[in-house]
Symmetry: none
Subunit: 135 residues, 2 copies
Amino acid sequence: MTRDTVLTERQIEVLKLKAQGLSTSEIAKRLGTTVANVSATEKKARENIRRAKNTLRLVKMLEAPLSVVIPPETDLNDAVREIYRRADEAGIWISHSFPSLAALIQQGAGEKIRGRRVLEEIEVAITREGEVMVM
Amino acid sequence: MTRDTVLTERQIEVLKLKAQGLSTSEIAKRLGTTVANVSATEKKARENIRRAKNTLRLVKMLEAPLSVVIPPETDLNDAVREIYRRADEAGIWISHSFPSLAALIQQGAGEKIRGRRVLEEIEVAITREGEVMVM
DNA sequence: ATCGTATTAAATTAAAACATTTAAGACATG
DNA sequence: CATGTCTTAAATGTTTTAATTTAATACGAT
């Protein structure tokens, strides 16, 4: 059978009942199986969802026509300016304001940025639609 | 081996080379296999990507306690008002101002909205946290 | 301490997906 | 019509994944 998601019927069923507020043991009773089984199935389902998210992220990066590398020691403001400049050069209109783009990069870079200073090299992908992603 | 996407190494490799503009036969040469193989692998990869998308859509729907359907021909302002009304009805506080919600919907709906008019039916999911998503 | 609830690891069996080859056919170009 | 490029279906051997059971652990409430 060809599924149209990366989840199995069983996994979807468990997620549905969880979303409705049922406890793991209630779900186990209803599905006629053990609590351990439900717990394991839900864990697998969440793992699959995580992988689905990572997949779409990867695809966006692959499709990104523009990649901007921010070297260490760069100031965050300069990084944002550089991203605007390179996008402009490529004819892409970035769909974020300066401050929200700065926040997005700061959040996406995690440990690679402290305060306003870039510590490790950051690669930023820019899609055709002007969406910005930190890789 | 635990992958962190729903794509295999092989599928990612093919997508990468395709994104770089290589033809199917060029990729086949580079990977030391047949054109048919590359073609089939790419097809499988795209199928997996489609399923990843459907998965996230399903999860959002499962998590959303409220779903609002906006019929065609609706004015964007009326759509936003309807969303506020339904959320209020469900005791959910929407964490967007009127204009930013309108912008969010317009952006999320893509081709389904032209100007301020809804062309195709739009389904909007509202999370417990008042986040609004166009599906 | 004993429930009730939940998570986790390990092992097992069955089902599904993967990459590949072969063969067939579509389609545009020379 | 021959050629290059690509897609598709079918068959196959291999690898992965799913669901389940059992057993162990954790933890708050009674």
